[in-house]
Amino acid sequence: MAPLKVRQRSIFRPVLNALVNMTWAERLGLIGLGVVTIIALVAHWVTPFDPQMRVGPAYLPPGSLHWFGTDEIGRDLFSRVLLGVQVTWLPALGLVLICLVAGTLIGLIPSIVSERLDGVVQRIVDLFLVLPGTLVALAVIASLGPGLTNTMIAIGVAWWPWYARISRDEFRRIRGLPHFEAALLAGVGRLRLTFHHVLPGAFPALIVFATVDVGNVIMTISLLSFLGLGQPAPAPELGIMTSRALDSLSEFWWLPVLPATAIFVICFLSNLAGDGLRAALKGK
């Protein structure tokens, strides 16, 4: 006798439904984010010039050869911004995804293991929540030394508790709904109850929080770079490119404005996508 097959796709059904039912503006946000991610992934191969090398005269305004102009030592700004998207967006995205998964799983612990653990887990989460995030990040970097990986670890330590708190609150809300009680009475096992009857209901809130949060992470990464605790100096990080060129805003406007625009576009797209997801998932 063949074992019973139960379709597994149900976990992702709310997300799929949301994508199908979206308006063009909401899709624009998601598609835009997809394009940004692809650009970031292939940035090394598509940059027209070597971003680290002097390729022309300094302070060349935007033109047909150098689309975004050149910087103070004659490096191609467009190539540097493309690479900047890579070193800013990918860590931010990775960090948010890791925090999303880790926080959700920690929030699920009481559901899966035992209700009694809820208090213990939540006090640990509280402990991390009361620590000032940026200071913790500074302390972590001070002990590990600067660098991309260490920056991510430092921010991650301060970031995951928010996801744990949100997922746990969503789970508690859903566990009070009649459909959860009905499933409980139907004899559904603990794991299936958690992953099929509770988790999908928490997706909307978690995904929306994550998409809006990406902007915050980008800002924090830029802040740490600005303080000299991010990646070492020649790395084309968007935040540090903006802050360093701010003095020359009146003479060479493209130097701070164009990298800042890239940050703005990324944050805008992620907010748009978040709003879209919220609107689409709310109706479910």
Partner: protein
């Protein structure tokens, strides 16, 4: 002749489900004059609620509605109107009483604030309306948040919200399903009153023929989205032409005569029931008390609000006991305690079998997980049996057949089904693997009389076949008498009388006529 308040011409509506277009309404045409009440009757899934939504310009955008024809309220055309003019219409012309009172109120606002918003009026008028809807503790209700009220109480608030605004058009979608007969009659009176004094045109959507009889001037019968019969109330009732209407009329009579004559169609043997009741108990409550999450702080502020007070009840194996009480008397609480979802504050509950009892919830839509298909949810009860795929599928289809649903609904999500279909899906989930103890919370409240009768017969039949013990909560004595061996009357959190239905009804005639007010309709 005066201009009609509502005029619908050649209205057709299709909604999208799973990216397939399903026609829901076909070529409807009807008119309602000011001050007239039109009852729309139809089986669950016949498109009644869609019609109600269309009349308010509220078809769900997510199902990409395609509307043709015309809907005119007064002189405003709704089909193709801009969203801001639809909003103006909803604010100033049409009001509705929703089918789902659990979710129609804003959980973050007090009742007073919501009523004030709905009608833009002062507190005196609000209290006056609460009194008219026979709330006893008016100041507490006005201060309360929706979640602290029972289903019936919330439904009455929704009714007040709609009627206070004195709309020109009122769409009432099953407004009385959760209410007992006294309150139902009160609501009918209020609706008729609004029709007479404010010249409100009322579209009264219902599955219940006797509700329609009680309020309407004319009747429209829908089947599968088409008008199969329309006309004056008496014409349709006395000379039903279409087969479905005839079925509706006769099944109502069948329920009446069945109850009246005491000889029910293939009814169980009373002697055997007596023997059964001497058998050991399957479920017993020993002086059970319950109160909802009252903290010491709340006790000081509002006093204790016990739902149940040392309640004692025992249900014998294979027996069906009906809990009868008005709205807010704690029927649902008893069932939830019996199911083990709530722990009593004091006293003890004892269940004989260790298998999980099944509860058919009152709010059937909310008791289905919104993102899982009906098939997946019903199938969950079979998972422990390790069936082959074919057997599993067959079992699911059989369960749907038993409750009268189509096979294709196995792949539907709850949001794509009507309330009546959800209710039957819930019953299917409960009985697919017959439980030892079945708890039913008003399982027939949103079904039409033909389906309700089927459902009651089904519960009785399953009970006989599998020897299930049934605890059945209802506000309807006729239903209780039809389905149960014994009736327990619930009042103020206590059981005030237990016994055979006939005897209880005799006693109640003297002590609590309100519960059997509608005996002309239902009872001998």
């Amino acid at each position: 002749m005066k201009e009609p308040a509502v005029s619908v011409q050649n209205l057709s509506v299709s909604l999208q489900r799973d990216r397939r277009i399903n026609p829901v309404l076909h070529d409807l045409s009807f008119e309602v004059g000011p001050g007239k009440i039109l009852a729309v009757i139809g089986q669950s899934g016949s498109g009644k609620t869609t019609l109600g939504a269309a009349l308010q310009g509220l078809l769900p955008a997510s199902s990409r509605p395609k509307v043709s024809g015309s809907i005119t309220l007064g002189d405003i055309e709704l089909v193709g109107a801009k969203s801001h003019s639809l909003q103006w219409v909803r604010r100033n012309v049409v009001r509705s009483i929703s089918q789902d009172p659990m979710n129609a109120l804003n959980p973050t606002m007090t009742i007073r604030a919501q009523l004030r918003e709905a009608a833009r009026c002062d507190d005196d008028l609000i209290e006056d309306w609460l009194r008219r809807l026979s709330f006893s503790d008016i100041s507490r209700i006005a201060r309360a948040f929706p979640h602290t009220l029972s289903g019936g109480q919330r439904q009455r608030i929704c009714i007040a919200m709609a009627l206070m605004a004195k709309p020109k058009v009122l769409v009432a979608d099953e407004p009385t399903t959760g209410l007992d007969h006294t309150l139902q009659r009160l609501v009918y009176d209020l609706i008729r009153d609004a029709a007479v004094t404010h010249k409100t045109a009322v579209i009264f959507i219902t599955h219940n023929l006797s509700a329609a009889t009680a309020v309407a001037d004319s009747i429209l019968v829908l089947e599968k989205g088409r008008i199969v019969e329309a006309g004056g109330l008496t014409t349709v009732l006395t000379r039903p032409r279409h087969a479905y209407t005839q079925q509706l009329v006769t099944s109502r009579i069948e329920l009446e005569t069945g109850v009246a004559g005491g000889t029910l169609p293939h009814f169980h043997n009373r002697d055997r029931d007596q023997r059964e009741s001497r058998k050991s108990a399957a479920l017993s409550f020993q002086s059970v008390s319950f109160q909802y999450g009252v903290t010491p702080f709340e006790v000081r502020r509002r006093g204790r609000l016990p739902v149940l007070q040392s309640l004692t009840l025992s249900v014998a194996e294979g027996e069906c006991v009906a809990l009868v009480g008005s709205s807010g008397e704690g029927k649902s609480t008893i069932l939830r305690i019996a199911a083990g979802l709530l722990r009593p504050s004091a006293g003890s509950v004892w269940r004989k079998s260790d298998s999980i009892p099944q509860l058919v919830f009152q709010d059937s839509v909310a008791s289905l997980t919104p993102w899982l298909t009906i098939g997946e949810q019903i199938g969950e009860r079979l998972k422990s049996l390790q069936l082959s795929h074919a057997t599993y599928r067959r079992q699911l289809e059989q369960a749907l057949e038993i409750v009268g649903l189509e096979h294709k609904l196995l792949d539907a999500l709850p949001s794509q089904m009507s309330v009546g279909q959800c209710q039957r899906a819930c019953l299917a989930r409960a009985i697919i693997a017959p439980p030892k103890l079945l708890l039913c919370d008003e399982p027939t409240s949103s079904l039409d009389s033909a389906l309700a009768l089927d459902m009651l017969k089904l519960i009785r039949e399953l009970r006989e076949r599998f020897g299930m013990t049934v605890l059945f909560a209802t506000h309807d004595l006729a239903v209780a008498k039809f389905v149960a061996n014994r009736v327990a009357i619930l009042r103020d959190g206590q059981i005030t009388g237990v016994g055979e239905p006939e005897r209880i009804i005799e006693t109640l005639k003297a002590t609590r006529p309100s519960l059997i007010e509608q005996r002309a309709e239902w009872l001998p």
